[in-house]
């Protein structure tokens, strides 16, 4: 557990940290975010004492870190930076093994750790261990940067915009990997970013800072639905409104341009209508718009083959799933997924026909929610 108690820091007349109080639990993925100059990186660097606070205390597992030897403290806290900072004069193997080496682990032990680490990142030992940093892409270099931070099994890992300099595709991949890694290794991770997408994706808790103060600490969901001020809302961009406008009832998904028939249509008339509308079912309603059921082309064909000539009224199926327009969307989706039909009929409160929801409608709406209109 990391505990900040009223931590302050000034440079000349500029107050960089104005009394930070923050608690980060064991195994928590905490993301510090805010506009540039908000103090997020300063806060991070006080944890491994690269920056010393003017006043206030920071405790790790109840122990005041100002009483620790800074060098020992740093060897027990992983550190990953945006510019990666691998040692160009060392191979991948030597870079990963450097902290264990500083801690005077035995050669065998270091060798074992390097193998384990490369395995975690799914990097082949024979292919990568003896490469120099410049021989790898930025993404691979930062993977090694993360492994270097993890090699001595520190319970806490500090990451200062680690993926900020990578291309978007590599960034996404590494974000996924770090989330997986954290789940697997149960590290306490303190992660600085200015990218809200990144924060929402990876954080257990987002710590939003501005002008040296913590404005809000909340889970991504909580911060999305309940941002504390306009600045946070603007950082969230359009996402908050996405959530508010998110389709909640089937009405929002409904498709109203549908092919309907009355029960007294002859088989021939119904088939003609289906052919024109290029559909294989018709929704049958009463003259007063009351929903009756559906008629399927295969049923009509079956009757035609046996030579019957009648109206479609005798073929109405009533087992199609229905929902009222104010039904919770999720509920009706589940029903649709389990149904043999590929749509749901939506009814108004008085059982008149309102529209249908097809699987395609849902897919489109989900796509809009995810990628925007």
């Amino acid at each position: 557990m990391i505990d900040f108690q009223n931590v302050r820091k000034s440079y000349d007349d500029t107050k960089v940290l104005k009394g930070i109080n923050l608690n980060i639990k064991d195994g928590e993925f905490a993301v510090l975010i805010g506009p540039s100059g908000c103090g997020k990186t300063t806060t991070l660097k006080t944890i491994n004492r690269l920056i010393e606070p003017d006043s206030g205390k920071i405790y790790i597992d109840g122990q005041d870190i100002s009483t620790f030897d800074p060098v020992k403290l740093r060897r027990s806290v992983g550190y990953v930076i945006q510019q990666i900072g691998l040692f160009p004069n060392m191979t991948v193997e030597e870079n990963i093994g450097i902290v264990p080496k500083l801690l005077k682990y035995e050669e065998k032990e270091i060798d074992k750790i390097v193998h384990e680490m490369l395995e975690i990142a799914e990097m082949d030992y024979d292919e990568y261990a003896h490469k120099y940093p410049y021989e790898m892409s930025g993404g691979q270099q930062q993977r090694v940067g993360v492994l270097r931070a993890l090699a001595a099994s520190p319970p806490i890992v500090l990451m200062d915009e680690p993926f900020g300099a990578l291309d978007p595709v590599t960034r996404t991949t590494l974000q996924n990997e770090i989330v997986e890694l954290q789940k697997k290794l149960k590290k306490t991770i303190v992660f600085v970013t200015h990218d809200m997408d990144e924060a929402i994706k990876i954080a257990d808790n987002i710590v939003f800072m501005d002008e040296g103060e913590i404005i809000q600490v909340a889970s991504p969901e909580e911060m999305l639905t309940n941002p504390k001020n306009d600045l946070i809302r603007s950082f969230m961009g359009d996402r908050s409104s996405d959530i508010e406008n998110q389709p909640q009832v089937v009405d929002d998904f409904m498709y109203t341009n549908i092919s309907t028939a009355y029960p007294d249509y002859s088989f021939k008339k119904a088939i003609g209508l289906m052919a024109r509308k290029k559909v294989d079912t018709l929704i049958v309603k009463d003259r007063d718009e009351t929903f009756l059921g559906v008629v399927m082309i295969k049923d009509i064909n079956h009757k035609l083959k046996s030579g019957e000539k009648s109206t479609i009224g005798s073929l109405i199926r009533t087992d199609i799933p229905t929902a009222y327009s104010n039904t919770n969307a999720e509920e009706s989706f589940n029903e649709l997924m389990e149904s043999e039909y590929d749509y749901i009929v939506v009814l108004r409160a008085n059982n008149t026909l309102a529209g249908i929801v097809t699987q395609t409608n849902i897919a489109k709406s989900l796509a809009n929610a995810v990628w925007g209109e």
């Binding site: 550190y79 930076i81 450097i98 270097r148």
Partner: protein, 202 residues
């Protein structure tokens, strides 16, 4: 001109540059670590090189007499600048990200210096040594005036008796020596750079 004279010349250069490395690199490191010492160290080595070589040798001869030691110490003082300055510059110019990472993962100052900063400054330090050697090959010629021997005495003698053939021979050897050292060491330097960055930067 005899092989002996060439050997003497090379030995003068060798021992003086050896001294330059032994004292120059640590001086560069001290200049890097202690900002207060920096100005003094850099100024002194600069002045040493600004003094005309012959004058410097003369001054040393006043104290040590005409001897090979005089030449070696003179060459040493004269070629300190490139080694000290390149060591200092090489250490200062190590990528700040690498320095921060080194500190952040828990390296002490000594760890940082020996595991990271000096290895990364090595190509530039080597370049300083190359300059020191090439300069010394030339300056060692003046050694003849203060009892050092070497190719300087051949050149001096051939000028005195107007032996143009001998003059050409001895200067040719001198040129081959300087250009040869420069060429070979430049190649090594490029290899060093390539190992660190993948580029063979001049």
């Amino acid at each position: 001109m005899t092989i002996d004279m060439i050997t003497t010349h090379l030995l003068l250069v060798f021992f003086s540059v050896l001294l330059t490395i032994i004292f120059g690199v640590p001086l560069g490191v001290v200049a890097y670590i202690f900002p207060k010492a920096r100005k003094i160290i850099l100024k002194v080595v600069e002045v040493l090189q600004t003094v005309p070589a012959l004058a410097l040798l003369g001054v040393i001869m006043v104290f040590l007499g005409p001897d090979r030691a005089t030449v070696i110490i003179g060459l040493f003082a004269y070629s300190l600048l490139p080694v000290v300055l390149n060591t200092y510059t090489g250490l200062v110019e190590v990528d700040p990200a690498v320095k921060e990472a080194a500190k952040g993962i828990g390296m002490t100052k000594i760890n940082r210096l020996f595991l990271v900063e000096l290895p990364l400054a090595l190509p530039l330090i080597f370049s300083g040594v190359r300059l020191a050697i090439v300069t010394s090959v030339g300056v060692a010629v003046f050694g003849a005036f203060v009892g050092g021997g070497g190719l300087g005495s051949v050149i001096y003698e051939s000028i005195r008796v107007s032996n143009m053939k001998l003059l050409l021979q001895s200067t040719a050897v001198l040129i081959v020596m300087a250009v040869g050292f420069d060429f070979v060491m430049s190649k090594i330097e490029k290899q060093m750079n390539k190992k660190l960055t993948g580029n063979s930067v001049d």
